[in-house]
């Protein structure tokens, strides 16, 4: 926002300052730099995502009409969200520890996760016959609980912050079930 004053260190411009350090110039330069930092802070804040962007980060999804083994895709914060209601045989074929990823509402079990591959962000496709996800970009695969079965993705699909509200899920708000998933490492923060 202002012309930076270059600090002169011991350079003799006029003969009257030959050999002497330009203390005042350095003091002025230093003080100006402080102002520059203030200006840089304002500039950084201008780059910040807008409050309306952050406030728009809530989506409500009604799960009651979901069908078993039929992938439903919604949108939250501009990202695709996978909702997959689990059938009995889908649940039979997965590891016990991965069942922590499930959201249980009444008798039904769901996987709700961000549909972006944890490798580099492409959207994996779901094969209902195979009951698995395949990411076309680099060949990563996930099982029906969206946990990783083949590299390169480093972990299962991330679970967004959610709150259970009857048969509805509010994405963007957090409830106790989500807090638990964060605490025991089932998912990373999205």
């Amino acid at each position: 926002m202002r012309i930076k004053i270059y600090k002169k260190e011991g350079i003799s411009m006029a003969n009257n300052t030959k050999g002497r350090r330009d203390f005042m110039g350095m003091a002025l330069g230093g003080f100006t730099a402080l102002g520059g930092i203030g200006a840089l802070y304002a500039m950084k804040r201008t780059w910040d995502p807008l409050p309306s962007v952050k406030a728009a980060g809530f989506t409500t999804i009604d799960l009651k009409d979901a069908q078993e083994n039929v992938l439903v895709v919604e949108k939250w914060r501009g990202k695709p969200i996978f909702i997959l209601k689990q059938s009995a045989d889908m649940l039979a074929n997965v590891k016990e520890e991965d069942k922590k990823r499930l959201i249980n509402i009444g008798d039904a079990h769901y996987i709700v996760c961000v549909g972006l591959c944890t490798h580099l962000g492409c959207i994996p496709g779901y094969d209902a016959a195979e009951k698995s996800f395949l990411c076309a970009c680099h060949g990563g695969t996930y099982d029906s609980l969206a946990s990783v079965t083949k590299a390169p993705p480093p972990r299962g699909l991330d679970i967004p912050p959610f709150k259970v509200d009857g048969t509805k899920l509010v994405l963007g708000e957090t409830g106790p079930e989500y807090e638990k998933m964060l605490a025991d490492g089932t998912t990373l923060k999205v």
Partner: protein, 321 residues
């Protein structure tokens, strides 16, 4: 010192230039309207109106004074209020061009004498009677025949001041006093209320609920524009589009600033005016607090900067003069 003299000349010419272009020119372009200090006694109305109406208005406002002197019974007023609630209710429909505003805090934000006058004759009270051959045709005109007795009017107003008062937020004041005609998009308000959150259809990318809401708003606006002659402006940034004095006097008596306007007087009292202004500042100048906080810091920075610059200049110029 010669430089000081030169600086003085430059400063004087700059100040004269500023004076001519700003304060002087604006004083010539905008007549100064005095305003009535939120006293609703019809003095301005009587002065402004045509000769044939002056007597009628004098009598009208004198009657208002008489009713104001009566002691109102709030309990009795509650029964009469039922006649108001028939139109002024939650979710009311458009009646004769506009949706009747909520009266939830009417006792707190409107002036007592104004409320009395409003029940006696809405068109005269709001100073738009020149638009009507018969003031009964005002959307609220029929109240004249429904609450007729002076004591009844005093009771209703007493009821409003007792039960329809209480703490009112700036937004509530705006919604009740202004928003039936004036949208405020920065505050996410339309004439129908707050803009609801809706979701797009994921397959088509289109938000049908939002479109339906917009259609309702557009229909309401068409009705308003028809009733008033033009659509009242959105007030999102009005606080910066007009001076505070203009807005104050305009809201108090629209005719004093824009003769012939369709805008009715709102009858806001001091509290109501303050709350409405606070909301207008919220939507139109929300950075004001931070601006007033940051200003002194920046100015102090440059005062110190200049002091240091002066010392640097002195050290660089030593021996040169």
């Amino acid at each position: 010192m010669k430089e000081l003299k030169i600086f003085g000349i430059v400063a004087v010419f700059t100040l004269i230039l500023y004076w001519g272009v700003e304060p002087f020119a604006h004083s010539q372009m905008h007549k100064h309207v005095k305003g009535a200090d939120l006293v609703y006694n019809g003095a301005a109305d009587i002065a402004e109106c045509e000769q044939s109406k002056k007597e009628m208005k004098k009598t009208f406002w004198a009657d208002v004074e008489k009713i104001a002197a009566l002691k109102g019974d709030a309990a009795a007023g509650e029964a009469s209020y039922a006649m108001c609630a028939g139109c002024h209710m939650e979710g009311a429909a458009n009646m004769g061009g506009v949706i009747p505003p909520s009266l939830e805090h009417a006792g707190a934000i409107y002036d007592k004498n104004f409320l009395i006058a409003l029940i006696k004759d809405p068109a005269i009270a709001t100073n738009v009677d020149h638009k009507y051959a018969d003031t009964m045709t005002h959307p609220m005109g029929s109240i004249k025949t429904m609450v007729t007795e002076a004591q009844d009017i005093a009771n209703v107003v007493a009821y409003l001041q007792a039960k329809k008062a209480g703490e009112v937020t700036p937004k509530e004041a705006y919604v009740e006093a202004c928003s039936r005609c004036h949208a405020n998009r920065y505050g996410k308000l339309t004439q129908l209320g707050e803009i609801p959150k809706t979701k797009s259809n994921i397959a088509t990318g289109k938000d049908i609920d939002a479109m339906k809401y917009q259609e309702k708003v557009a229909t309401e606006e068409a009705s308003l524009a028809n009733y008033l002659g033009k659509l009242p402006p959105d007030l999102s940034i009005m606080i910066r589009a007009r001076s505070e004095h203009f807005l104050h006097t305009f809201i108090e008596d629209p005719q004093s600033q824009l003769t012939g306007t369709a805008m009715p007087r709102t009858g806001l009292n001091k509290e109501g005016m303050e709350k409405v202004f606070a909301y207008l500042e919220e939507t139109g100048d929300p950075s004001k607090p931070l601006r007033e906080e940051t200003g002194p810091k920046v100015l102090i920075f440059f005062l110190i900067f200049t002091a240091l610059a002066f010392l640097w200049k002195k050290s660089m110029w030593k021996g040169h003069h």
